[in-house]
Structure formats: C-alpha cells, structure tokens
C-alpha cells in the first residue's frame, strides 16, 4: 500500500509554509510523489531540491544498515548545502526513507536511520517532516514509541486510521472491555508530541498489553487496506 500516489497534504502545507518564510525545501521521496509535491506547493525551482528516496538510500546503506559517515556525506551534505543556499533563512525537509526501509523489511536499519536524522537535527537548524505509511512504520507498535518521542507533532493523514484502530480494539479486547479501556487510554498523559488517537492507543497497548498491541496493529492495517 505504501504512502499512496498523493503526497501527504500536511507535508505540502509544511513545505509551503517554509517557502513563504524564506526557507528552502528539500524533498527525499519516491520520485513521482516528490514531483506531485513540487506541483502542489508551486516552489520556485531554485528553492526546492528533489531527491529520490531509493537513490539516496543507495548512497549510504550497506548490508541493511546505514553507514553514519556515508549518511553524513550524502544526506548531511545535502542538508548543509540546502540550508542557506540562495539566501534562504532556513530549511524544511520532507523524507520517506525510513518508511521505505521499514516496508522493505530493514527494520533495524529504519530505526538506526531515524537516529541518524535525529543527530543531524541536533547539529543543524532545520525542520524535518517524516512520512510513514500505515502498512509500514506508522502502525508498528515496536516503532511507535520511538516515532512519538522523537517528533514534536504527529499528524494522521488518513482520517480512517482512528476508526481502524478503534475497530481493531473492539475486535481484540471485546466491545465492552474496549469501551472501558478507552477512557483510561485517553486519560493517560504522555510526554512529547501530541499524537492522534490511533497512535496514542497503540503506544499505550504496547506498554501495557504488548501482545494485544501487535494484534490491534495488524487488524488496523488490514482494516485500512479494506477501506482503500
């Protein structure tokens, strides 16, 4: 299923807002989606750099894991070049590489790549928008805690996601049980990003009922596929 043909609307808004503020944009995406994103935001040609996600991965991945030095020499270099090019005041990056790795089964590599992005963000002042597909990183309970703790804000682009997780929760715990657990999940405070219900529920389950978290994640993914 992947990220679909259309780029996430929230990503287009994120990049367009940066361009209005005089920042540059860097898009590391599947080429067709990157092009669609460029058309959506109508970016001036000298303010937006488009790079293929797979092409970029090929530059620093080895044996399913990112090589930090090669990541820095490719992605890091591109970020540094884009950061202040053409008199820009900053940089906004849209990336799909982690999700791509996860869907290809390179799960450790995906998690490690998240870490490398985090380190790059600490070294340079730019904003990063990561896209995760529902059948990839986004509903994998093992990855969710990391996603939620590393990002300032999470957006569920697919409006069906919350409903899918709700339905899966009913199926897994039983309708009555789920209706009693929901207020507890809602009332549980989290540190870090404000997260949509679907992610909050999965993170809570992961911490408290890990087996049920896996089932709910699987069922929700299947449900979203059915909706397609």
């Amino acid at each position: 299923m992947g990220l679909g043909n259309e780029p996430p609307r929230a990503a287009a808004e994120f990049l367009a807002e940066g361009l209005r503020r005089g920042e540059n944009a860097l898009v590391v995406a599947e080429p067709a989606r990157g092009e669609a994103l460029r058309r959506m935001i109508e970016a001036p040609i000298d303010r937006l750099v488009l790079v293929g996600a797979q092409k970029m991965l090929d530059r620093f991945m080895e044996g399913g894991m990112p090589v930090p030095e090669r990541f820095d020499a490719s992605v890091g270099r591109l970020v540094r070049e884009s950061l202040y090019g053409h008199g820009a005041t900053g940089l906004r990056v849209y990336g799909e590489m982690v999700d791509l790795l996860w869907r290809e089964g390179c799960r450790s590599g995906a998690v490690q790549l998240e870490e490398l992005w985090e380190q790059l963000l600490q070294r340079h002042q730019f904003s990063l928008f990561c896209a995760y597909s529902v059948d990839g990183f986004a509903l994998a309970p093992a990855a969710l805690e990391g996603i939620c703790s590393r990002h300032h804000r999470l957006v569920a682009e697919d409006p069906k996601l919350d409903a899918a997780v709700d339905h899966a929760l009913d199926e897994t715990l039983g309708r009555d049980e789920a209706s009693r657990v929901r207020p507890l999940i809602q009332a549980t405070r989290r540190s870090g990003a404000e997260v949509p219900w679907a992610y909050k529920a999965l993170c809570w389950l992961r911490r408290n009922l890990p087996e049920q978290a896996l089932t709910v994640g699987e069922l929700a993914r299947a449900r979203v596929r059915d909706f397609e």
Binding site: L173, E177, R180, V181, R182, P183, L184, I185, Q186, A187, T188, R189, R190, S191, G192, W204, R207, N208, L209, E211, Q212
Partner: protein
Amino acid sequence: MRVLLVDDDPCDQVLAMCALEQWTEAPEVHAVCSGELAQEVLSAGFAPDLILLDGRLPKASGVEVLAWIRAQPALAGLPVFLLSSSTDPLEIKRAEDAGASGYLVKESDHERLTTALAGLEILVRLRRSHLTGAR
C-alpha cells in the same frame, strides 16, 4: 484482584478507593501513606495485581518508589500507574523513563477519574488471563 494504593493524602485515598469499588469485581485494596511503607509491604510478600502510586509522596517520591519497584525482579512487570496532581511534562517524562505503565492526573472531575480507573480492571483481568494462559 489486589491493589496497592500509595498516597499520603487521605482524601485522595478515599476517592481512589471509591473508584476501585466501582469495579465489577471489587478488588482487595491495601492502602499505605508513604513509599517506605509500600516498599515494606511489597518486601514482606504482598503481591498486588496493580499499584496506584501518588507522584508526590513525602521522602521518597513516586518516581523513586517506582524505580525501586522496577528493580525488583518479582515486581518488574507489574502495572504501576502514577496518580499525580502535576501536569509538568518533565515529571511525566521522568515517570515514563522510570517505567510507569501510565501517568494519570488527579482530576477535580472525580467522575472522569473514576471512569479512567474503571479501565484498569480490564487491564488487570487481561494480564491475569494472559499469565495463567486462560482465554
């Protein structure tokens, strides 16, 4: 089902106990007013299914007591929920890092807290059925 309630505020103790009495199967609640007493009863062999821990206790804080609980092999996987009046994100983060199962804010709206605590019965039941292999 057995619950260990650790709170130094008698009013909060009563409120939590009232909420727990609403469970379908009312649990046996053992209430203590400090982290030290909690450590004592746990060390003496009291084996609860759930611990509700006030975040702001005298002497050892809720997070410190939680860290001690997580360091005990027999208690490491036990659901421990922090109940606190604080909404400070740093305190929430500290609780998460120490291994809290969840962080609940003591609401002025008691009904909301009662509704939230009702979900804990399901959590305890699901965990018990998993541990005993029952379905």
